[in-house]
């Protein structure tokens, strides 16, 4: 006997209820519920100095099966001199703050470019290990494990902080933080490496064994991209296949003028006061402030710069977005 439509109603209703519940669960699981990840220890700071020599064993298995060691970071000789001349674009801007100790010299500027407010942290260090990385809740690899840049900065006694590549957001791609290898799977992306000696290098992950990057003295490795300035020339393109690069957005980025001389830049956007920058305009800004090498970090609502207790830019969502990691400089 054929089945009548009324007899099927409970099953049909039950199926659509299940579809709704699973859809809700999927959205909550991916956007709200924190899960996964491994806890990472912060570097131990001592008063003697050498280039950090310890690295963690590579984590080759599933997250959580590897072990981490505490890298030892040491301070260096006193006496920092600003190398060369301050770029004219910065001299024409407003100085928002300065900080100096025996290892770091920071000058924070606000300038105007690309119809936007641009914040530039001009950072001179004695060595690359002064540029540190913090993870939300000191945890890498999880989902929805996020904190604001200001919270991570305050938890790590920072004087300066900026959002970085949100490494946990992706499932693959090299990750090195404070000398520790956190992920060994290569992505299709180009990464930027800050070596402990203060030099900067770019690598195409699929073409570069991670071990060779480690052997070169990698201290931090960020994987978001793209590379936007290489050897003093803009290599950014709005036609690089990434929709977010072709649109005016808030931006954060990392640049190097020379060894141990860095520029951290945040561009406001998505407001009437600041239109933001597409990736080519962002590269132009990095060139304007003197970068010979520059790399794009996570942007949009994540673009956040923090200095001495306060967020200095205007996050596009009106408040800080919680992110997975940040770059900071310790007091």
């Amino acid at each position: 006997m054929p089945v009548g439509p009324k007899r099927l109603l409970p099953y049909i209703a039950g199926f659509y209820a299940l579809l709704f519940l699973f859809t809700t669960f999927t959205l909550l699981y991916e956007f709200v519920i924190p899960h996964g990840g491994i806890v990472i220890t912060d570097p131990v700071f001592t008063t003697t100095i050498t280039v950090p020599t310890t690295t963690a064993d590579p984590i080759t298995g599933p997250i959580g099966t590897g072990t981490t060691t505490e890298p030892v970071v040491t301070t260096t000789d006193p006496g920092l001199v600003y190398p060369g001349e301050v770029p004219a674009a910065l001299l024409g801007g407003t100085v928002l703050g300065t900080y100096e100790n025996e290892n770091v010299l920071i000058t924070l500027y606000q300038i105007r470019a690309s119809n936007s407010d641009v914040y530039v942290a001009d950072v001179v260090t004695t060595d690359g290990s002064q540029i540190l990385a913090a993870l939300a809740f000191n945890t890498f690899g999880g989902t929805n494990i996020v904190q604001t840049v200001s919270t991570m900065a305050e938890d790590h006694d920072a004087i300066f902080a900026i959002n970085s590549d949100y490494a946990s957001h992706y499932d693959y791609g090299y990750v090195i933080r404070n000398g520790m290898i956190l992920r060994t799977s290569a992505s299709y992306r180009d990464c930027v490496v800050l070596n402990a000696d203060g030099t900067v290098a770019f690598h195409t992950e699929e073409e570069t064994p991670l071990q060779s990057i480690v052997d070169d003295g990698a201290w931090q490795l960020w994987s978001f991209g793209p590379v936007i300035v290489r050897d003093g020339v803009s290599v950014a393109s709005v036609n690089d296949g990434l929709a977010r690069d072709a649109v005016n957005n808030p931006r954060s980025g990392f640049g190097a003028v020379s060894a141990n001389h860095f520029m951290f830049v945040t561009v406001d956007g998505r407001t009437d006061a600041s239109h933001g920058a597409d990736i080519e305009e962002f590269a132009d800004i990095m060139l304007l402030v003197g970068c010979t090498q520059a790399y794009n970090f996570d942007g949009g609502g994540s673009a956040t710069m923090w200095f001495d207790g306060a967020v200095v830019n205007n996050p596009s969502e009106g408040t800080e977005r919680k992110v997975g990691d940040c770059v900071y400089i310790r007091r």
Partner: protein, 131 residues
């Protein structure tokens, strides 16, 4: 059910699929406003799933033998599941991430469509065997 009743039923089902397609198109247009210029083909073309898999199929039944009740119930379940998966995939694309859970929607939807197709094939075979 008379032939005219059956035709009215398929036209009504086609209309409902049309509403679903229009809703997905509207959802895409509204979502684009908040996507800051980023888009995803999964979101953009999700409306085609009920349009092609629903409206066109139901209109086809005006000229083809009608499926059984179970098949008529299972087919839209598959369409709804695949369309939901497509929208979710688009949401994650625009966010800049991904989710393995979306594959569950596509797999389940494909199985439901396959099941409905098999049921329809059985219906056709049985109807041809009847004197």
């Amino acid at each position: 059910m008379s032939t005219s009743d059956a035709k009215r039923r398929f036209l009504k089902r086609a209309r409902n699929y049309g509403f679903a397609s229009a809703f997905l198109l509207l959802f895409h247009l509204v979502y684009q406003i908040f996507a800051h210029g980023v888009d995803s083909p999964y979101m953009t073309f999700a409306f085609l799933i009920p349009l092609v898999g629903g409206v066109a199929v139901e209109l086809g039944f005006l000229f083809l033998p009608a499926p059984g009740e179970v098949g008529l119930a299972v087919w839209p379940m598959g369409i709804a599941t695949i369309a939901t998966g497509s929208v979710l995939h688009g949401v994650f694309d625009i966010y800049g991430g991904s989710s393995d859970l979306v594959n569950v929607f596509f797999a389940a939807g494909a199985l439901l469509i396959l099941a409905a197709s098999v049921l329809y094939a059985i219906t056709l075979v049985r109807s041809r065997r009847r004197p």
